[in-house]
Symmetry: C2
Subunit: 237 residues, 2 copies
C-alpha cells in the first residue's frame, strides 16, 4: 500500500504540475491573447525551463489542444447549467437563458472564445478526437434541445423552404442527437444550426471588436435578437 500511496503521490504531483501549466497558459492567454501562450513564457512564470514542459505535453499544439478541451468543456458546462436551471415548460425562457449564458461566458473569456472559434494560435491544427469535439456536440445537442422544444410551434409559424434530409447532416452528430430526440425532423436540426449562427455571429462581431465600432451597447442588440428569435419561433407569450 506504500506503493499505491507513492504512486498516487507521483501521479498527483504530475497532475498538479500539468494543471499548473494549463493554468498559467490560461492566465497568459487571458492577459495577452492566444498568442501569449508560449512554452518559454509559461516556463518563465513557473521558474522552469521551457523544455520541462515537454515532459507533460509532447508539443505546444498538444498543450493548446488540452486548453481548448478545458475551455470548450467549460463553455459546454456553462450553457448546460443555464439550460438545466430553467423550467422545461418555458422554451422561450430556456432559449434566452442559454443564449445569455453563452454570451456571458464569451464576454468573460474572450481569449477562450477566440481559442475555440477563431484561429487559435499560429499554425495550429486540431487533432482528431479529444474532449473538444465532445464539448462541441454537447453545445450542439443543447441547441438542438432548444430547437426541439420550440419546434412544435416554430414549424407552424414558418415552414422551411428548403427540404432537409438526414443525409444533409454529419453522421456523428445524428448518432448523438436522433436517439435523444426521436420525433425531431431534419429541418429542426437545421433550425438549431441557424440559431447557433445568429448567436455566434453577433458574438463574433462583438468579441473581435467589429460591433463596437458601429454600436455602443451590443447588449441591446443581443436582447433584440433574442426577442425576434423567440417571436419568429412563435413563442411569444
Amino acid at each position: 500500500m506504500a506503493e499505491t500511496r507513492t504512486r498516487g503521490r507521483r501521479e498527483r504531483l504530475r497532475a498538479e504540475t500539468a494543471a499548473e501549466i494549463k493554468d498559467v497558459a490560461l492566465r497568459l492567454m487571458a492577459s495577452g491573447g492566444p498568442d501569449a501562450i508560449t512554452l518559454r513564457a509559461i516556463a518563465r512564470e513557473m521558474g522552469m525551463t521551457a523544455n520541462a514542459i515537454y515532459g507533460y505535453f509532447a508539443t505546444r499544439d498538444d498543450l493548446v489542444t488540452a486548453l481548448i478541451d478545458d475551455v470548450y468543456t467549460g463553455l459546454a458546462d456553462a450553457v448546460d447549467a443555464a439550460w438545466a436551471a430553467t423550467a422545461a415548460d418555458d422554451p422561450a425562457g430556456r432559449i434566452r437563458a442559454w443564449a445569455h449564458a453563452f454570451r456571458n461566458w464569451a464576454l468573460a473569456n474572450p481569449a477562450g472564445f477566440r481559442l475555440i472559434y477563431g484561429d487559435p494560435v499560429p499554425g495550429y491544427q486540431a487533432p482528431e478526437g479529444g474532449a473538444a469535439p465532445d464539448a462541441a456536440q454537447r453545445v450542439c445537442t443543447g441547441l438542438t434541445a432548444l430547437a426541439a422544444a420550440a419546434w412544435p410551434r416554430a414549424s407552424e409559424a414558418s415552414e422551411a423552404s428548403e427540404d432537409f434530409q438526414w443525409s444533409d447532416f454529419d453522421a456523428g452528430l445524428l448518432s448523438k442527437i436522433r436517439p435523444a430526440f426521436p420525433d425531431l425532423p431534419p429541418a429542426a436540426v437545421a433550425l438549431a444550426l441557424r440559431i447557433w449562427g445568429h448567436l455566434h455571429g453577433l458574438l463574433c462581431l462583438e468579441i473581435y471588436g467589429h460591433l463596437r465600432t458601429q454600436m455602443l451597447n451590443p447588449d441591446k442588440l443581443f436582447r433584440e435578437e433574442l426577442a425576434q428569435l423567440v417571436r419568429s419561433l412563435g413563442l411569444t407569450a
Copy 2:
C-alpha cells in the same frame, strides 16, 4: 521634365515593388493562412532580404494593415457590385444577391476573411484610420441600404421590443448613414446589424470549419437562412 520623368520612374518602380510585396503576401496567405505572412518568406520569394521590405513598410503590422485595407476593399467592392447589379424594386432579391456575394467572396478568400474578421496575425493591433474602416462602413452602409429598403414592410411584420435611439450607435457610422437614409429610424440600423450578425455567424462557422463537422452542405443552410430572413422581413412574394 527629365526630372519629372525620372521621378515618375522611381516612384513607379517603388509602387510596383510595394504592390509585388503585397501580392506575394496575399499568395502566401492564400496557401498557408494568415500566419504564413512573414517578412522573411516574402523576401525569400522575391529574392530579397527580409530587411529590404522595411523600405516599403515600416513594420510587419503596417504590411498587414495594408493587406487588410486591400482585402476589405475587395470585399466591399464585391458586395456593392452585387447590390448595384440588382433591381431597386426587388428588396428581397437585393438581400439575396448581397448575401450570396458576401458568402462567395468569403469562400473564395477564406484567408482574407480570417484576416479581416479573425485574429489576423499574432499580436497585430489595428491602427486608427486607413482604408479598412472605410470599407467596413461601406459594407455596413450596404447593409443599411438593404434594411432601409425592407424597413417599410419589415416594421409592420414585427415591431422591435427594444427601443433603439440614435445615441445607441457610433457617431461616425451615423454621420455616413443618416444623410443617405433620412427617413430611417434607429431600429432599422439595429436590424441591419442583426442581419449582418446572421450572415456573419453562419459564415464564420463555415470558414472556421465548425459547420462542416455538423452539416455536409452549408449551402443549403445558408439558403434557408436567407429564405427565413426575407420571410421575417415580410418580403415574400
